[in-house]
């Protein structure tokens, strides 16, 4: 399940947020602290998670302390489902 979430979100992030469809993101790549997903796109990421998995991530949680990698994000989603 977790692998599916990671693959799905990785795909949406590279196509819709980064607009670099050829890019690959590893499950342990840092998304937030590296600046890969900039602050203007964090809200998109939280809306994606909410729309696709029905999991709410509060805006106060949109930082590297809550999750920084796809792996961490996937476990957060699973824990809240």
């Amino acid at each position: 399940m977790s692998q599916e979430i990671i693959a799905h979100l990785a795909n949406r992030i590279v196509t819709e947020i980064l607009k670099q469809p050829k890019k690959t993101i590893a499950p342990t790549d840092k998304l937030i602290s590296s600046g890969l997903i900039d602050s203007f796109s964090l809200v998109d990421l939280s809306l994606m998670v909410e729309d696709d998995y029905g999991v709410h991530i509060d805006d106060t949680e949109l930082n590297a302390d809550t999750f920084d990698t796809l792996e961490q994000l996937a476990s957060l989603i699973e824990a809240r489902q």
Binding site: G35, D38, S39, F40, V43, S46
Partner: protein, 563 residues
């Protein structure tokens, strides 16, 4: 003629219990401050500056995030007579070394006597300082005197004169930080007086803002205007807004906000990223002016905004536009309150080839322009040609401004200050536009400056970074902005010359350019476009022809952006 300290003293004596500022922090209780709280907290900073030997007239750099410390440190500097300059805080994205290089550049030009920051941030900035530079103290926010009652007679700020510099305003990046706009008390008060009339401002207004205070729109409109005019300011953090734009609308509803300034992209951002469930119970009927300012204005984002929020009581007459710049303290023009936006559909070909804004012709391509309104009181406008001769209506030329609220100088930059004015006391803005019956329309920029989400980005800063990447031909990099219609703002593109034909190596170069730009400037690139030798357009004197490179890029890359 009055000064900021005199104004604060008057407020302290006549309306100490008036709630002048409410600070919002996501996940925390709102913090409301009366004039008494604001001034007594600031006096704590003022006495600290005095005890450390900071002299009135010396510059103090504030490196603090949204919150009470920033507010007190700023007004404390004013009460002490020191000149505050707010530097953006380090973000996660930006490399600390890059940030320190920018800070060192700021220190070298501005010659500050002190820097104020948090104890945990001291370690980040110390390495930027040298033993022989001007900074005598790094003042930690935790070691500042507690708030206390003012002894106005002893405060250094009361010996300052209205025409002396009260604060510095910088734009971002290495280049921007080296050119501080120095504003006098009088110029700021004149601007606020002019704007008060244009906005039909009353003491019942409530200003709601998320704009950062290191930005001129945030500092002047979103901070000084309310506090000096005595209207309630509800201030949220840009950090919170960008993660949860709905909080702005909740704040307007909760505090019955009437006035807000937004950069153009923010209308799109709010319309696209706020969900109805986040607006339960929100009432926007008090919002009388939401003013689009600080980047090129498009009407579609404003309409999307009005439509999206109409069910929550938003009146579309509240949509408003202003053209502003730090050199004029702030606003140059302002559309009349409550009036619908004025649109001007003009012929695209005449705009591009003849510098004329003629009304659109049926069946021919056109461009829809949005009026920025007429000049505010005590500000004059002209459109001039390169010989500085006034052009008639609908002729496109450079916008020239003359007013009672111009800057004093570019701080410690006599070279730049000398070039400021043309004969007659007119300032050339570097923006192109045209007038129709006193209404100003902006069509473009003379400078290669890029404006991303209202923030000025200097292309040369980005080019220097990209040239560090191995495999990129030194001197053959061009950075420019292209307009993204869906976001309502500019995106940045880098064109770089490389010799390698190997696709794996080219991918690596592209990746490295993206990384170095992100970490070195906090700009997320739209595209890195690698070209071979001979592609790059140069001017006749061999300089980077960014705008020509942009046109060539848009023609051949298939990028859907526009100019």
């Amino acid at each position: 003629m009055t000064t900021f300290p005199e104004r604060l003293k008057q407020a302290y004596e006549t309306q100490p219990d008036f709630t002048i500022l409410t600070l919002l922090h996501a996940g925390q209780e709102d913090l409301s401050l009366t004039y008494r709280d604001l001034i007594e907290g600031s006096v704590g900073y003022a006495s600290t500056y005095a005890s450390l030997g900071i002299q009135p007239g010396e510059v103090v750099i504030l490196i603090l995030e949204h919150g009470r410390d920033l507010v007190f440190a700023f007004w404390g500097a004013i009460l002490h007579g020191a000149i505050p300059a707010i530097m953006p805080f380090l973000t996660e994205k930006l490399l600390p070394e890059r940030y320190r290089a920018d800070l060192a550049a700021l220190v070298a030009v501005t010659q500050p006597a002190a820097i104020v920051t948090y104890p945990e941030f001291e370690v980040e900035i110390r390495p930027a300082l040298k033993p022989d530079d001007s900074v005598r103290h790094v003042i930690l926010s935790t070691l500042v005197d507690a708030p206390h009652k003012p002894d106005f007679a002893s405060l250094g700020g009361f010996n300052r004169h209205a025409n002396q510099t009260v604060l510095l305003q910088h734009s971002s990046g290495t280049t921007g930080l080296q050119k501080g706009v120095a504003l006098s008390h009088q110029a700021v008060f004149n601007q606020l007086g002019n704007l008060r009339k244009a906005l039909q401002q009353t003491e019942n207004d409530v200003l709601v803002s998320w704009l950062p205070l290191y930005h001129d729109m945030g500092l002047i409109a979103g901070f000084l205007l309310p506090i000096l005019s005595g209207i309630h300011l509800v201030l949220m953090s840009p950090f919170d807004w960008v993660r949860a734009p709905y909080r702005l609308l909740q704040a307007v509803s909760k505090y019955r906000g009437t006035l807000t300034w937004l950069p153009n992209f923010a209308y799109y951002f709010c319309a696209q990223k706020i969900r109805d469930r986040q607006l339960e119970g929100v009432d926007l009927s008090s919002w009388r002016a939401v003013i689009n300012c600080s980047e090129p204005v498009r009407d579609d984002g404003q309409h999307a905004f009005a439509e999206k929020f109409a069910p929550y009581g938003f009146h579309k007459e509240a949509l408003s536009v202003s053209y502003a710049m730090a050199e004029n303290v702030f606003a140059v023009t302002q559309t009349p309150m409550g009036a619908p936006l004025i649109l001007d559909e003009i012929d695209r070909e005449a705009l591009q080839t003849q510098n004329l804004a003629i009304p659109a012709i049926d069946g021919k391509a056109s461009v829809r322009m949005v009026s920025c309104g007429p000049a505010i009181p005590n500000v004059e406008l002209r459109i001039v040609n390169p010989e500085n001769e006034t052009l008639p209506d609908r002729s496109i030329g450079e916008v020239a401004v003359r007013s009672n609220c111009m800057l004093n100088e570019y701080y410690h930059r006599p070279d730049a200050t000398e070039k400021l004015m043309i004969p007659g006391g007119w300032y050339l803005t570097g923006d192109f536009g045209y007038l129709v019956a006193g209404e100003l329309y902006i069509t473009g920029r003379k400078k290669d400056l890029i404006i991303v989400g209202g923030k000025n980005i200097y292309p040369q800063d980005l080019e220097i970074l990209a040239m560090e990447v191995e495999g990129v031909h030194p001197g053959r990099v061009s950075a420019f902005g292209v307009f993204d219609e869906s976001k309502g703002t500019e995106d940045v593109v880098i064109v770089a010359e490389v010799e390698s034909e190997d696709s794996a190596e080219r991918e690596k170069i592209e990746e490295n350019i993206r990384a170095v730009i992100t970490r070195g400037s906090a700009v997320a690139l739209r595209n890195v476009y690698l070209v071979g030798p001979g592609w790059m357009v140069k001017t006749s004197s061999g300089k980077n022809a960014r705008l020509a490179n942009r046109d060539k890029y848009l023609k051949e890359s298939g990028d859907s952006a526009t100019i």
